[in-house]
Each structure stands twice: as structure tokens, then as C-alpha cells.
Amino acid sequence: MNVIDLLILIIVVTILVTIALGVMTYIAYKLRMARKPATSDDESTTARYFVLHKPPLDATDPPESDAS
């Protein structure tokens, strides 16, 4: 087998393996999503609400460093 044939083989095999890997990964993703705990249908209909958190009056610096 000469170099040209070897390169052709590498390209063809890589293309086919990449496409197969893409399909398999996609199926793995779908299976992972299927295994996720089911979410309640009620969640999507829950009213959106705000809870405004009032900062303490003496709020000053961040916890660890002065980020200003």
C-alpha cells in the first residue's frame, strides 16, 4: 500500500467513524435525557413571582475581596 492509498484510507475511515460517533453520541445524549428525573407538569403553570430581597442597610464589601 503506497502513501496515497494510506491517506485515502485514513480519510475515508475517519469520515465514516466520525459520522458513526456523531450518531452514537446523539443517542447517548437522548438516553441521558430520558433517565433524568421527570419534572412535574405543574411547574410550567406556576405563576411567576418576584421576591425582592432587601439588602442590609450596612451592606458594603463582598465576602472575600474588594471587587470594586
Binding site: 469520515i15 465514516l16 459520522i19 418576584f50 421576591v51 470594586s68
Partner: protein, 445 residues
């Protein structure tokens, strides 16, 4: 059967159907009469040339407009603007405990006279809100406020932040991103032009210590930022990216904020702004660092959501695709999104498959080899130009060799399957990716 399992089963059946259909076609081609086989050989040769021609034209057009944008920016680079109105920074967060501190710290490091930071906790089930609340109050030029709401998705979190914004311009970003200090200073002068509705920033990959993340770093430069730069030249960037986008609040209110009916709320809002005649600009100095998935399944999960989200945004405007006038910028943006999101990926997968099979069966391997060498050279040249334009690390350029050969082809398989699922209108979940603290990543820059 739970909905998630049912959806997965349907998806797998569709995938199996497509793979089976393709295999059947190949089987038919092999066993077809000699005349048909001769026709296929001719078809392959023409397709190879056409494929290269389309790719070349696409690259040439994008590079030319990107070059014009880059030149224009270089020419007016010395101009100093004093336009620095106060800005509201909105950070939507859902279960971002790992990264929220880094994000807030980066935002508070912005070099800008007056701004406020609104953290919108979208009903997190971890300690995101507790961590965020520790930052509440005034920090130098910035004031931090934290809100919490029931989980409703990113678009609702952004809308909530927009509703609370005190200032006339909003910077929307992701909680897993780390923004560069100069961002607002370089973006805001664009808004001196009253027709500019939004400015898209430059998203870069931070975790470059992994080969897959390095490939994505190159992809962001060559595949995402270069088209964005080209679109910016004509003021019609079609996606203001989620990790960094600055909007004129009036423009956002005018179009009704973010819609909640797509999984690509950034693309959808951008198209709405273009529809209303707003110019969308690209600013490459407005840099934000974001994390790239480092496992193939996580990557597929992200791209699946992007593809379906973009298709949902296009589907909402499908009538636009057939009508270039009078709304030409919108038509151009939607067409480009459709081409990049569906047409090209599908073409790419089937072209590669077709070429590989025919090369094997009909002894046309040499033609395939030269075709591949030309394609790779083209990718290397474009990578070199775009990496130079962004003053990025040259070490990313060699990745162009496997960029199209493996990476793009791999992603295009997902885009193809996601497009088919979107055509069938299958339900989907957001799919939260795993995060790691940005401070753990040493490879920034």
C-alpha cells in the same frame, strides 16, 4: 411512559430511520445498473467541485466583510468617546453556585463610571441565591441587587431583570461567563448612533486545557465571530450572544422583550430588533470568557439546543424566507441563519458520507484526497487570518486540520438530527450543562 422517555424513544427511532434509509440508498446505489453507477460517479465529481465552490464563496464573502469591518474599526480606533451613560447589567442564574461568585466578581471589575448589577435567580435549587445575596449593596461604581423568582427559563429571568432595570441600557450576560473590564467602555460609544439597538460582544473560551475546548475556541473565532464580524459591517448581526450583549432598553421594550417560545432567546430577540429596523453592531473588544463543554455528550446537548432554538426562531418568521423585500436585512439574517443552521450541516454530512462511500466503491479515492487537501488548506488559511484578526494564540491554527474533518462533521450530525426533530416538532428540555468554577481554570487568555 414518562414524557422524557417517550421523546427519547421517538428521537432514537427517527435516528434509526435516517441511518437505515441512508444505508438502503447506498445498497441500492451499489446494486444499481451500470448506467446508474456511471451517473453517480459523474454526480460525485460535480458535487465535490460544487461543495468546494460553495465553501470557498462562503469563506470569501465572510472574510471580505469581516476584513472591511476590521479595517473600519482600525481606522476609527483612535477616536475617544465620552458617551458613557449608566448601564444595568443583568445576570440570570439557575443553579450556578459553582460559578456565580466568579461572574459577579468579574462584573464588579468593570471599568465604567456608573452601573448597577441585577442578579436574577431563576428558582435555583442549589445555593446560588445565598451566594449572590452576599454581594448585595454598593461596591464602588456599582450597586448589586438580587431577585429571585420561580423557575421559568432564561428568557423569563432576563425579562424580569429588564423590568427591574433602572438605566436606559442593559448588558445581558450568562452566569457562567467572566466579562472583561473594558467591555462597557468599548461598547457604549456605538449607542451614540440612535439607530443602533444592540451591540454583540466577543465570546471566547476560557477552559483551553482540553482538546475539545481548544477546538471550540477555534470554532468561536472562525465559525462564530468571523460571521458576526462580517454581519456587523452591514449592521445586521443575527445573534447577539447570550454571554455578552448590550441593548438599548427602549428597543427591547419596543419589541416586547425576550419571547419564551424558543430555546434560542438571544437569536429570537435579535431577529425581532432587526425586524423593527434597529441596527445590530459587533464589537470585538467587548470580550467575555465562557466555559466550553469538555465531553462529547455535553457538547451535543448544547448544540442540539442551539440548533433547535435557532430553527424555532426562524420558524416564527418562515414567511420572511420567501419575501426578501421590503425587509431585506431581516430576510438576509433569517436566510443566513437557516443556511448555517440547517442547509449547510445537512449538506455537509451527506456530502462527506456520499464521497466516502463512492470513493470506496468506485475507486475515486485520489479525487477525494485532493478534495480533502484543498478543503483543509482553505480551513488553515481562514483559521490563520481570523486568529490573527482577533490577536489570538497561533497555537489554535493547527487545530484547523481536524476542525472540519472531525469537529464540524461531528457537530453537523447533531444539527441534522436536531433539524429533523424540529421538523417533527418533538418536545425538548433545556438541558442544563455541568459547570466548574472559572477560578479553577488557569488557561484564561
Amino acid at each position: 411512559m414518562p414524557a422524557a422517555r417517550r421523546r427519547a424513544l421517538i428521537s432514537i427511532l427517527i435516528t434509526a430511520g435516517m441511518v437505515g434509509g441512508t444505508a438502503l440508498f447506498i445498497f441500492w446505489a451499489v446494486h444499481s445498473p451500470l448506467q446508474v453507477q456511471r451517473f453517480l460517479v459523474r454526480l460525485v465529481m460535480i458535487s465535490l467541485i460544487l461543495f468546494l465552490a460553495i465553501l470557498f464563496l462562503r469563506y470569501f464573502a465572510l472574510l471580505w466583510f469581516a476584513y472591511l469591518q476590521h479595517s473600519e474599526k482600525t481606522i476609527r480606533g483612535g477616536e475617544v468617546s465620552s458617551f458613557m451613560p449608566p448601564v444595568t447589567v443583568i445576570v440570570p442564574a439557575y443553579n450556578e453556585a459553582e460559578v456565580i461568585d466568579d461572574a459577579i466578581e468579574a462584573v464588579l471589575g468593570l471599568d465604567y463610571p456608573v452601573y448597577e448589577v441585577i442578579i436574577v435567580d431563576d428558582g435555583s435549587t442549589d445555593t446560588t441565591v445565598t451566594l449572590a445575596r452576599q454581594w448585595e449593596g454598593r461596591h464602588g461604581n456599582a450597586e448589586v441587587r438580587v431577585f429571585t423568582k420561580a423557575n421559568g427559563g432564561k428568557a423569563t429571568a432576563l425579562n424580569s431583570g429588564i423590568a427591574q432595570a433602572k438605566y436606559s441600557f442593559v448588558l445581558c450576560m450568562d452566569a457562567d461567563s467572566s466579562i472583561e473590564p473594558q467591555t462597557l467602555r468599548v461598547v457604549m460609544p456605538h449607542f451614540e448612533d440612535p439607530s443602533v439597538g444592540a451591540v454583540a460582544g466577543n465570546v471566547k473560551i476560557v477552559n483551553r486545557d482540553h482538546w475539545l475546548a481548544r477546538l471550540q475556541a477555534l470554532e468561536y473565532i472562525e465559525g462564530l465571530n468571523m460571521p458576526r464580524r462580517a454581519q456587523g459591517f452591514i449592521g445586521a448581526v443575527n445573534i447577539v450572544p447570550g454571554p455578552v450583549g448590550v441593548f438599548r432598553l427602549d428597543a427591547v421594550h419596543e419589541v416586547g422583550g425576550y419571547d419564551v417560545d424558543t430555546f434560542a432567546e438571544d437569536a429570537d430577540l435579535t431577529l425581532k430588533l432587526i425586524t423593527n429596523g434597529w441596527k445590530i453592531i459587533y464589537e470585538d473588544s467587548a470580550i467575555t470568557w465562557t466555559q466550553a463543554p469538555t465531553s462529547l455528550v455535553d457538547l451535543i446537548q448544547q448544540r442540539y439546543r442551539w440548533t433547535r432554538g435557532i430553527l424555532q426562531a426562524i420558524r416564527k418568521r418562515k414567511q420572511v424566507l420567501l419575501r426578501p423585500f421590503p425587509d431585506f436585512p431581516l430576510w438576509l439574517s433569517a436566510m443566513e441563519m437557516a443556511f448555517e443552521g440547517v442547509v449547510w450541516p445537512v449538506l455537509n454530512v451527506y456530502a462527506h458520507l456520499f464521497f466516502a462511500v463512492v470513493a470506496l466503491l468506485y475507486g475515486m479515492g485520489e479525487l477525494l484526497l485532493y478534495w480533502w487537501i484543498l478543503l483543509t488548506l482553505l480551513d488553515l488559511v481562514v483559521a490563520l487570518i481570523t486568529v490573527s484578526m482577533e490577536e489570538e494564540e497561533l497555537g489554535l491554527v493547527p487545530y484547523a486540520i481536524i476542525y472540519r474533518f472531525f469537529f464540524i462533521l461531528f457537530l453537523d450530525v447533531t444539527k441534522t438530527l436536531a433539524a429533523v426533530e424540529e421538523a417533527f416538532n418533538l418536545g425538548m428540555d433545556w438541558g442544563k450543562l455541568r459547570r466548574v468554577s472559572l477560578t479553577q481554570d488557569a488557561g484564561k487568555g
